[in-house]
């Protein structure tokens, strides 16, 4: 029986998914030949690091956290009202897309933190990115840094890279037998016209997440609340517990 585990990735907090991988590893799940782990957006970072630099993946992610929270600022405060403020700002500024600048910034970030390794087609990690030109979700292979700069861009802070954006900002989560995702859609009282636009587009993503979780055999939801979710240790611990919960439910 194949085991396909899928992770969301629309907010920075998915860096903590290294905790989930540790939980799976403790139970030898990561040694299974039939395992595939599908990820999108930010969950791709811990997955690549854990696969290629397992011994110090946690330390790298922990060091990355502060810098990443400034670099990916639009995804660091996961609340619809915060995103609504950014959305409003985008509307006011009519900020133009700068394809080159976005690519350059993302390249600098991944070159600093991500090893220069190849992700083979037969690899058990599957990195999803959304091809806007072809309007389809794709699994990317090749140089890990190249793959990541295509899987990370999300519309509020970055332009698409070669026409690719984060799949998690379209579908939320790739389909899988087991799904682990952060539910951060907080109650939101729309006030401005832009808030209603924002609500409509997130409702669409929420409907895709619902479809994916209905198809999955097991879903573990991490509720994002409280101040504990501002430090990396708490977040990765929460993912570790989610991994344990997943294993209990799956068996």
């Amino acid at each position: 029986m194949n085991l396909k585990i899928s992770l969301g990735g629309d907010i920075l907090h998915y860096l903590g998914a290294v905790g989930l991988l540790n939980a799976l590893s403790e139970n030898k799940v990561t040694e299974r030949d039939d395992l595939e782990i599908h990820c999108s957006g930010f969950s791709c970072i811990p997955l690549i690091l854990w696969t290629y630099q397992r011994n110090n993946a946690y330390n790298i992610l922990s060091s990355m956290w502060d810098e990443a929270s400034k670099f990916f600022k639009g995804s660091f405060k996961p609340s619809l009202s915060e995103i609504g403020k950014n959305f409003l700002l985008l509307y006011k500024m009519q900020k133009r897309i700068d394809l080159e600048l976005s690519k350059q910034k993302l390249s600098e970030f991944v070159e600093k933190w991500i090893p220069n390794v190849e992700i083979e087609e037969q690899s058990r990690i599957k990195i999803h990115a959304f091809n806007l030109e072809k309007r389809q979700d794709e699994i990317l292979y090749g140089n890990a840094r190249e793959v990541l700069i295509h899987a990370l861009p999300y519309p509020i802070d970055f332009a698409p890279v070669d026409g690719y954006i984060s799949s998690s900002w379209v579908f939320g989560i790739p389909e899988g037998d087991g799904i682990i995702y952060i539910d951060w859609y907080d109650p939101f009282e729309p006030r401005r016209a832009t808030d209603f636009l924002l609500m409509a587009t997130f409702a669409r993503t929420a409907s895709f997440i619902k479809l994916a979780t209905e198809k999955a055999k097991v879903t573990v939801t991490i509720r994002l609340s409280g101040s504990g979710f501002k430090d990396f240790r708490s977040i990765s611990n929460r993912f570790y517990l989610a991994g344990k919960e997943f294993l209990e439910k799956f068996h």
Partner: protein, 260 residues
């Protein structure tokens, strides 16, 4: 039971009248119609009057009348009112349009069963309306987010049904329709030069995936290639004329399908 699902899409909704015309030319009547946004306008008018010609006459006359009145509003999505107000158009401004179309008619007066779909802001789910006053239901279904002020049904604010159910086929299936015909438009993903437009492009991609899923339960689909912005109501005649050509091209195929 033959169900007909009419897609949301502003002025593109005039294409659905061509679908209804082909139904008439094949002597077929839908047993139940579902619609979101503009689809609900056409569906409700047809369910009320039972004639595609009357639907076209009433809808186009009302559009022309309101186009004359409304001349100063700038393009939606490019207006600073969006920054401070709930919507570009207040309820008072566009309520009249729907009042003109439906007056005080109720669902109970309809000749054909009708499901009008809106989006419930509280639950983030589609909400099916099939009773009460038509004007309230259709108005709720047509409140394009950011453009029109949300309205209330059952004490809850509603938005455009096209958000989650652009082509309400699942709603027909749930009601018991065993043959589902859909009337839809070819997808057009808008280009982007700003981050805001990129968000809207991504949103349009999401809509196309929702439509794809909805069409997976449709048995026959009329597809109209409409290259017109949803808000360009001045082009309603052109949209209808072109749709008639497209619909008649597939008329034989439709007739064979429906008579099988």
């Amino acid at each position: 039971m033959v169900g007909l699902a009419l897609q949301a899409g502003g002025v593109k909704g005039f294409s659905h009248i061509a679908t209804l015309k082909v139904f008439e030319e094949c002597n077929v009547e839908p047993d139940i119609i579902s619609g979101s946004s503009a689809g609900s306008i056409v569906g409700a008018l047809y369910a009320l009057h039972g004639s595609s010609e009357i639907v076209y006459k009433i809808f186009s006359e009302t559009v022309r009348k309101f186009l004359k009145k409304q001349s100063t509003k700038p393009e939606p999505i490019m207006n600073l009112e969006m920054v401070i107000k709930e919507a570009l158009y207040s309820l008072d401004e566009f309520y009249q349009f729907f009042k003109e179309l439906f007056g005080k008619k109720k669902f109970s007066e309809l000749k054909t069963k009708l499901l009008v779909v809106a989006f419930d802001i509280e639950t983030w789910k589609s909400f099916v309306i099939d009773e009460g006053y038509l004007v309230d239901a259709v108005l709720a279904s047509c409140t394009v987010p950011g453009v029109f002020e949300p309205t209330y049904i059952a004490g809850v604010r509603m938005l455009d049904g096209g958000i989650l159910s652009p082509v309400p086929t699942f709603e027909l299936k749930e009601y018991g329709a065993d043959t589902i015909v859909a009337s839809v438009f070819e997808e057009r993903i808008p280009p982007y030069t700003t981050h805001m437009e990129l968000m809207l492009t991504v949103d349009a991609v999401k809509e196309s995936y929702i439509v794809q899923n909805e069409l997976s339960v449709a048995d026959f689909t009329f597809i109209y290639p409409v290259n017109v912005s949803w808000s360009d109501f001045a082009k309603h005649e052109e949209v209808y004329r072109n749709a008639l050509i497209v619909a008649r091209r597939v008329k034989d195929e439709f007739e064979n399908f429906i008579r099988r």
